[in-house]
Amino acid sequence: MSAALLTARAWLDEGRKVVLATVVETWGSSPVPVGGHLVIDDKGDFSGSVSGGCVEAEVIARAQDIIASGKPELLEFGVDNETAWGVGLACGGRIRVFAEKLE
């Protein structure tokens, strides 16, 4: 977790724009616990994880909007969510991820 925060600081120091995504809630099976971090930059480079790889692509895509708008978003992924099937969180879990720009 802190490894992702160290990456975030290093990227900010290089002048990159960075979004920090944090797992804030989980239900059922989820490979990344609450507090897990994923950092994403404006080129789509990323480090860390918020799931076993199921929803990262969607979070990375949303991060670009967050970089542009500067507004944080609370994202929800789960089996009972149409988009989640689209991005593939079919492992039976449900997670909420808070994604915010580092300013």
Partner: protein
């Protein structure tokens, strides 16, 4: 998150200080609390205290929307006493699970960078090494030297510390002898029961690598048992 907040979190982590971050999930910003200061009297001081105890973050409902209360605890450390073959593997496995290893051994022929690469090596007697490094509640200690003078000195320091795990290599028989020696140093039978010996989860380990795996598994188990002591989901 503000850059200033990120810097505070990373600074506290480097200094092995715990902090709690409270984030408003409606995008209304964040606040940082240090244990024992600032948090008391806060409408969510209960959640702040609880997350420090469990080590787990949690969403709390407030009249003005949801907040996420997240603890940032010092990184767990593993003090490895005895720069042996098992220690060489243990250093690698501990790092893989984000536990920071330190290797302590007064025998300078064992505690060498050639054997341990860039791992933190302290070629001193355990008493001196542990006084320097400190043993807090986020530290585990395992004795692998199999040299009574070295292991006993480390255990004597660790038994009086807050460390969350204490293990010592050796058979049941050699552990009985060790407990006998610790009693001579003034420790009671009951106190010595916290020492995991034979060390490691019982997975039928045979090789040094397998023993290292069983030790790191047992340390993770102790760490997570502590995290969940509050019955958090």
């Amino acid at each position: 998150m503000r850059r200033e907040t990120l810097d505070k979190l990373l600074k506290a982590r480097a200094a092995r200080r715990a902090l709690v971050l409270v984030t408003r999930l409606d995008g209304g910003g964040e606040e940082i609390f240090a244990p024992g200061g600032g948090g008391t009297g806060h409408p969510h001081s209960g959640e702040i205290t609880a997350c420090l105890r469990t080590g787990r973050g949690k969403i709390a409902e407030t009249g003005a929307g949801e907040i996420f209360v997240q603890p940032f605890l010092p990184a767990p450390r593993l003090m490895i006493v005895g720069a042996t073959h098992i220690a060489q593997v243990l250093v690698r496995l501990a790092r893989e699970v984000a536990i920071e290893p330190f290797v302590i051994d007064p025998r300078t022929a064992f505690a060498t960078p050639e054997r341990f690469g860039d791992a933190a090596i302290v070629p001193k007697w355990p008493g001196e090494a542990l006084a320097k490094l400190g043993l807090d509640a986020r530290c585990a200690l395992v004795c692998l030297a199999h040299v009574p003078d070295i292991d006993d000195e480390a255990l004597s320091v660790a038994l009086e510390s807050d460390c969350f795990y204490l293990g010592a290599l050796g058979s049941k028989r050699s552990h009985e002898k060790r407990v006998g020696r610790l009693k001579e140093r003034g420790f009671g039978e009951e106190e010595c029961r916290v020492i995991h010996a034979p060390v490691g989860l019982d997975i039928g380990s045979v090789t040094p690598n397998e023993i290292a795996l069983s030790i790191v598994a047992e340390v993770v188990s102790a760490l997570r048992a502590g995290d969940q002591a509050d019955g958090a989901s």
